[in-house]
């Protein structure tokens, strides 16, 4: 059973097409990371999902209901933490938590106290005096204390210090144990790597890749650093080898996964002295998409001007 089903979702802002046919499923109990450069359409997707923006085309279903028409019913089972938690400057943090949790169907007192303690949050201060990190905590506590089935985060750890980011990761892990469904849009790859079952990469209004991190890694190139007795002058000609760089006495290059056997044979024919194989980092995985996204969006901006 899918908690969220997005089919061919499009969104126009005037002439500008922000989303170009997004397809995305999130199973119940799954933690999905939505990743992409600024302006790729993450927040637009999330706000359509919440019924705050109207889609231009396609369908968005949450718990089998239409995200726009049935938003009130959907929201009974959902909590949302925006990227920049901006609330009423004169109200205290505690008042805001109580108000939002009450709207979400009642405060779970135990959880409220638990999360205030976990995040070391002072609920007696007025919202305007909280730092960005503290406002982020406030949003998180208000969402966690409501005890909903689905939680949507938009850049949840942007303002948190490393210690609090860790607390956040622990909290999400606990929620995952409880079987909650979580959609997390994020730039913080460490969070995604630790928490998400599956990742969807969005770039320029399109989902360019989805899958588990492991599956994505297999499709990618490993980074190999090697030193051999005989010089490896013809390495670039070997099939599956890319971006050869001299690195002192050693050579480093990227190797396609499916050709790895042939490549290693070629290397050992030259007498391997040392060999390092590193799996692609998340950064490597995403950077390509990010860069493409930036180039494209710059091109679009140029066209608009």
């Amino acid at each position: 059973m899918n908690a969220i089903e997005i089919r061919n979702l499009t969104k126009y802002y005037g002439e500008f097409q922000a989303l170009k046919g997004i397809d995305l499923d999130i199973k119940q109990g799954e933690v999905l990371g939505l990743i992409g450069p600024n302006g790729a359409g993450k927040t637009t997707t999330v706000r359509i999902l919440l019924g705050l923006l109207k889609k231009s085309g396609g369908s968005v279903k949450v718990f089998g209901k239409d995200a726009w028409e049935d938003s009130v019913e959907i929201h009974e089972r959902l909590a949302y933490v925006p990227d920049d938690v901006r609330l009423w400057p004169k109200l205290t943090g505690g008042e805001v938590i109580d108000f939002l949790a009450s709207l979400r169907g009642g405060i779970n007192e135990e959880k409220r106290a638990y999360y205030i303690e976990r995040f070391e949050f002072d609920p007696n201060k007025q919202c305007r005096s909280y730092s960005k990190g503290n406002r982020q905590k406030l949003g998180l506590i208000a969402a966690f204390a409501a005890d909903t089935d689905l939680i949507v985060f938009d850049e949840p750890t942007g303002g948190l210090d490393p210690l609090m980011s860790k607390v956040f990761q622990e909290c999400v892990a606990e929620l995952k144990e409880e079987g909650k469904t979580i959609l997390m849009s994020s730039h913080i790859l460490a969070d995604v790597e630790k928490l998400c079952d599956r990742v969807a990469i969005i770039s320029h209004g399109e989902i360019v890749e989805t899958g588990t991190l492991d599956a994505m890694r297999h499709m990618k190139r490993n980074l190999i650093t090697v030193r051999t007795k005989k010089p490896l002058s013809d390495l670039s000609d070997v099939e599956g080898v890319h971006n050869v760089e001299e690195n002192g006495e050693a050579l480093s290059f990227q190797a396609d996964n499916e050709k790895i056997d042939d490549i290693i044979r070629h290397l050992s024919a030259h007498g391997i002295q040392s060999l390092e194989i590193a799996p692609p980092t998340l950064e490597d995985l995403f950077m390509r998409h990010y860069e493409e996204g930036y180039h494209k969006s710059e091109a679009v901006r140029d066209e608009k001007n």
Binding site: Y80, F99, V152
Partner: protein, 534 residues
């Protein structure tokens, strides 16, 4: 003070002029148009009519609150006569304008966190405030020029016109200083403009009282303010007498007060943190009380500050108006000179004042309704609407409070005025009925604001302000003074709310309430169908 404290001021001034010039242009041409039309329209009266109009207003102490002193020998001259009738409204407009200009360039910049970026990008610590004051002074000088021009094109003598224009510019500059000070005292932009509004109300009331307690010339052909005028900058404007005494030394009073206010403001800049007020943030309660957990409760929490900020002054205004018109009966008993027509006019007076108060409260209603837009642009609305609260219920809670709040304000004014007046002439119930009739016009305007918020959220603030100013200027009070064509007056709901309950058509009043509901309903439907936009 260090030499670098003002660094970057010029850049900031240019930046402000570049970003805000459309607003300034609207004020400039608006004030020019007002001056031209008012002078032209009033110039059409014959000398005899001018005398009658002066006698009618000056004879009633209540009416004296809304006019400016004039001397018997100057009545038939348009330059003096136009300010007799318009000093009050021009003063209000320049004060509102100046407060808005300075508030936008100081407090609003801080609220939007732009001030921090400016302060850390090499601008001196006083640059932001100093540049706002410079812009405030420049725009007011431009307004002085607009007013002068408006007079001169009607053939009014040039040097007197210059002095007259400058006197309102000087009043505006003083209010730029007031806004600079309240910006330092308050924690955010809305609190700051609220505080400025209270200062203005005090200035207005003192001036009104100085006119009420002033010396009436023989046969009510003009009057002089009492000594109280010296306690109100609005009174100073009246004391300049640009076409008679030409008391130029009064400009030193304006300048002195402006320098004093600015000096205190600069002093306070050092005493507070960027983004905060002088008054410290309180440590509040860690839990929300039961009532606040409901949407209506939260809306009440968000509206109550502004509401009570208005409630006390409006009650005071009601009582003051009442006290002034309460003398009415006695005045007319003393002067057999006044005939039947004046008794009728005297009876109408408290109802006119209710109408004027309702026009003021319309500004409260507009801001209370635009609170919804503020929730939307400032961010909280995304949070609130991602809970199981429906858009309609959320909107209803705010609209209900804005309507109830503004209705209470109008009725409070009518009630307090009635308390004082009812003993002498009019029945309290009739006063309250007068409030209900006038509120019909406001209710319709409120419905319009709701519709604008639903249909064109990004333009709702500007368009609603334009509509409101039009409705007031073309309405029952200013419309006839400006001598606008019938169709223009009829477009304003205020025109259809006649002052005296027996003159008001029940059908028209009910139609206005009905239209208010219809317009509001359009807003509700549109809001359900639209995107949330920042």
């Amino acid at each position: 003070m260090k030499r670098t404290d003002l660094k970057g001021t010029l850049t900031l001034v240019l930046h402000a002029l570049k970003g805000e010039w459309p607003r300034y242009a609207i004020w400039f041409f608006g004030m020019f148009a007002l001056m031209v039309i008012a002078t032209y329209a009033n110039g059409q009266f014959s000398g005899e009519e001018m005398r009658e109009l002066v006698i009618l207003s000056v004879g009633e102490p209540g009416m004296r609150m809304l006019v400016s002193p004039i001397r018997p020998e100057g009545i038939e001259d348009i330059s003096r006569f136009v300010f007799f009738r318009f000093s009050f409204v021009i003063s209000i407009l320049v004060a509102i304008m100046s407060v808005q200009i300075v508030n936008r360039l100081t407090r609003l910049e801080e609220d939007a966190k732009r001030a921090e970026m400016v302060a850390t990008s090499g601008a001196g610590r006083y640059a932001q405030l100093f540049s706002a004051l410079i812009v405030g002074v420049l725009v007011n000088l431009a307004i002085a020029f607009a007013l002068t021009l408006g007079l001169v094109v009607n053939g009014v003598e040039v040097s007197g016109s210059i002095v007259a224009g400058l006197s309102y510019g000087a009043l505006g500059i003083v209010f730029a200083g007031v806004a600079a000070l309240t910006a330092q005292l308050s924690g955010n932009a809305s609190a700051s403009s609220g505080l400025s509004a209270i200062v203005f109300l005090a200035v207005f009331v003192v001036n009104a009282l100085s006119n009420v307690t002033g010396n009436v010339h023989e046969d009510a052909l003009g009057f002089e303010s009492s000594f109280l005028a010296w306690f109100s900058p609005m009174g100073w404007v009246q004391e300049v007498y640009p076409f008679d005494d030409r008391n130029l030394w009064i400009f030193f009073l304006f300048a002195g007060l402006f320098v004093l206010l600015s000096f205190i403001a600069f002093f306070l800049v050092d005493k507070r943190d960027v983004g905060r007020g002088i008054l410290p943030d309180k440590r509040g309660r860690g839990r929300a009380p039961g009532w606040m957990k409901k949407p209506l409760g939260l809306a009440y929490r968000l509206h109550r500050g502004a509401f009570f900020g208005w409630l006390v002054p409006i009650a005071f205004v009601g009582a003051a108006f009442g006290a002034a018109t309460g003398d009415l009966g006695e005045t007319f008993e003393d002067h057999e000179f006044f005939g039947e027509a004046f008794t009728e006019a005297a009876r109408e007076m408290p109802f006119i004042l209710i109408a004027v108060a309702t026009m003021m409260v319309a500004f409260y209603a507009r801001l209370a309704l635009l609170r919804m837009r503020k929730e939307e642009t400032d961010g909280p609305l995304d949070n609130v609407l991602s809970t199981p609260l429906s858009r309609t219920k959320w909107m209803a809670s705010h609209v209900l409070l804005a309507v109830l709040g503004s209705f209470t304000l109008v009725m409070t004014m009518a009630f307090f005025q009635g308390l004082v007046v009812a003993e002498t002439s009019s029945d309290l119930g009739e006063q309250l009925l007068g409030g209900v009739i006038q509120y019909g016009a406001l209710f319709m305007l409120a419905g319009l604001v709701v519709m604008l918020f639903g249909l064109i959220p990004k333009q709702a603030s500007a368009v609603s302000l334009a509509v409101l100013l039009y409705a007031i200027l073309a309405g029952s009070f200013f419309g006839p003074i400006l001598d606008l064509p019938e169709f223009m007056k009829n477009l304003s709901p205020y025109t259809h709310a006649k002052f005296l309950p027996e003159n008001a058509s029940a059908l028209r009043v009910l139609t206005m309430y009905g239209l208010g509901i219809a317009l509001g309903a359009v807003g509700f439907i549109a809001f359900r169908k639209r995107n949330m936009v920042f």
